[in-house]
Subunit: 269 residues, 4 copies
Amino acid sequence: MGAVTIKNLTIGDGGLVVMAGPCSIENRDQLIEIAREVKNSGAVILRGGAFKPRTSPYSFQGLGEEGLKYMKEAGEIAGMLTVSEVMDSSDIELVASYVDILQIGSRNMDNFALLKKAGQSGHPVLLKRGYMSTIEEFLLASEYLLKEGNRRVILCERGIRTFEKFTRNSLDLTSVPIIKKMSDLPIIVDPSHGTGRADAILPMSKASLVVGADGLMIEVHPNPKKALSDGQQTLDYPAFREMMDELKHLHSFLHNRSYSEAPAQMKAV
Amino acid sequence: MGAVTIKNLTIGDGGLVVMAGPCSIENRDQLIEIAREVKNSGAVILRGGAFKPRTSPYSFQGLGEEGLKYMKEAGEIAGMLTVSEVMDSSDIELVASYVDILQIGSRNMDNFALLKKAGQSGHPVLLKRGYMSTIEEFLLASEYLLKEGNRRVILCERGIRTFEKFTRNSLDLTSVPIIKKMSDLPIIVDPSHGTGRADAILPMSKASLVVGADGLMIEVHPNPKKALSDGQQTLDYPAFREMMDELKHLHSFLHNRSYSEAPAQMKAV
Amino acid sequence: MGAVTIKNLTIGDGGLVVMAGPCSIENRDQLIEIAREVKNSGAVILRGGAFKPRTSPYSFQGLGEEGLKYMKEAGEIAGMLTVSEVMDSSDIELVASYVDILQIGSRNMDNFALLKKAGQSGHPVLLKRGYMSTIEEFLLASEYLLKEGNRRVILCERGIRTFEKFTRNSLDLTSVPIIKKMSDLPIIVDPSHGTGRADAILPMSKASLVVGADGLMIEVHPNPKKALSDGQQTLDYPAFREMMDELKHLHSFLHNRSYSEAPAQMKAV
Amino acid sequence: MGAVTIKNLTIGDGGLVVMAGPCSIENRDQLIEIAREVKNSGAVILRGGAFKPRTSPYSFQGLGEEGLKYMKEAGEIAGMLTVSEVMDSSDIELVASYVDILQIGSRNMDNFALLKKAGQSGHPVLLKRGYMSTIEEFLLASEYLLKEGNRRVILCERGIRTFEKFTRNSLDLTSVPIIKKMSDLPIIVDPSHGTGRADAILPMSKASLVVGADGLMIEVHPNPKKALSDGQQTLDYPAFREMMDELKHLHSFLHNRSYSEAPAQMKAV
């Protein structure tokens, strides 16, 4: 069985695991507020970028270590696990000293040096599919982690680059059932990056559950229009809360159980 | 309201409309058998190709008019509407004399002469998205039909060509909620072509309902391994029946009603 | 040997065959002027669209048969062969009654009904690669023409759809040497559509000759900024003349002969 | 003027700079033999992979530092500059202690941490275009290097991922004249990776010169069928020699000078 346990949270055991938070960590107070909000709505892992991979060197690059400190504090206050991206093999221990899960981003899925060292580190890893990677390449990238003995690997489908222009990427949901047949690693879906559109997050999140995803990663911000990055694919608090309600309802239908029976995402962490 | 009514069937009113049948019409008796089977499982429209667009001129090209005669007979016997592809503007009236809905296939979405004449014909049209077409181009293609005054147009998402190799196409389900915002035409999904894999049809069909699709088009054959075309993306009878059961269950959850309340797909046609 | 002879012009025998003219035929006098200009610069075939495949039904659709009449007249006055697109199988004889070569456009490469009837017609055909077609599919499309006994087929590479945004298409020049190994049909290149940029036409035209193309198709207009379609990928007269000079110089280098030795493109037609 | 000078070699001044060598460094004696061979044919920079980015962790990963030692020795013996890939920011100084130019490979074009540190290092960098990157993203990646004050940056077009299957990638030669307009950095072309086919290397190399490339990177091996990686896109010695002869002939035509006039690639290094 491929479920991954991190502290007291298990991912891949049939529960609905939602990771939520801002694209970029912007400041301490805002992050704590967001953490409380998304926790109240049912999210169990706080996401937030401190080291940001930006196409242009002239774009905001993230708060770096300062941001990681805020992550640690916000996670503790809200009672959530935390995940943040590591972009450089030399930063692995730094990032891991503040957050529970190392994210390897889409642009670094082919960064085999980073994969190897993240595998050796033993820290839980969230591996995002490269936006230009086939499913086969995605699974082989996960092998770089597994080969080093690190079994706490969570996959994340986040859309691929195609010719379509109304969406930032084309979310390839068919990858989920295919990967479920070929690998026993948990897989979650990121419809924020996968579509680039706030109005597509809810339907594509529901579709993700239906095709068998073990969880979701969602960008949430108190005021998406003022977010320092990715505002157009970010939910505000009320939209996130509504979405979580719909997802719980659907999840309980899919798993034939009611949410009063202590669902996974309600476990204390 | 953009629902389309053809004879006594309405598509786009919240009911679950499933089109099913073989990729290619192979012979009369088999087609009648398939029609009865898929009708019993809940399909309301019989699909089957008589004129087949094949990449190679040396592949089986379909039975032509003979196949259309079988479609008409099988549809009448089973009590189903029928849909079949027209590939040439000069065949529009021929095809329309046998079947209820003209299909314009993915490879002909850019065949503007065919679109114009199909629009002028006034016959109901199922327009498939070009496998290399953007959503915008897809909607503009539908405008070729609408501009001629033909309002009975049903759209069909069927996957786009990408670099991914484990699937025949990448099913772009995000197109469904986007198109729902931009057009009031009904839209169905074809997960058979959209994935090219029998094992992906069930999960992607369920996901299609969840994102708002008005129906599905599914390839069904008594013995997919022996089908003259597309066997690897075709369900056999038991798999189709099981799928329909799951879809009805999900549809009734999504629409908050039970299937004892005379659901759309049970309407006599 | 796969050279194609149309009237007194041979394509595919080592000569440089340039087809030039406006994207859309706009009016009689302008077309005659363009024909004389491009003939003077060394083009031997006049191109011009009368039936235009446009993404939107609300865009200019071409002059239709009236435009074809102008083509015939302009070709006769300038002493050039003519090529124009046919979009519908029922128009084949109409178009062929005015022009020497039927063009089957990129959007119709998969229109197998049109291919079959164009093959049966026996008229010379210029077959453009589908913008979403593999080389294998392109060659199989040409088989639809050849299978009907029509050997006068000229292929045209015109770029494929990719994720790149600085160009309208990605011109796939590697297809030329590959097709040269697999087929003996002549192949020309259309850098106007293949790049969508006037500033890329000259370098990509030269590259086309170097990789073995038998000719080129170039959009020329007296005032590209005012052209009814595709102005951004169209050369004006001086740019076309300069380009032709460079191409002749390069062609004579590649073929080790001087242009005083009656090169192909100087043959009277 | 954007020419880059490394030791006594200038790239981007109109000379023909060819980088050649094996995909992977396999052993010392073979590398020295290859270096002498390609130098004799006119190459001036020896390429060879010591750290290999492989899709699967179970494929040959390269000789690592041992391979770099062989590079240094082979370059000195043959009188060539050397280039080899660095995959991890922590290896920059190690690689730079052995070779003259750091290669940042296609899979790491989005590895912004590596780009920043390579920029800070001040060592000459050969930056390959990501196989799924737009031209704009490619130029922005080069900005990561330039922003740190490192001006010795050479770009390399190496093909993009498309749906085409007869080639490993689609070599996007149109990028060369476009980049020449937007940047003054030298740009070379890698037709080995760009096509994945030995039979396409010669025509696409010639086309690269014609569109304005400042050089080429070519995979050469004494016995391509036995190469540890990429044999199908590798030239043997006679094919490389012939190619170099053709390229010199074409280059001297393009630059209106004869090769007796001390061409760039004959400069001692």
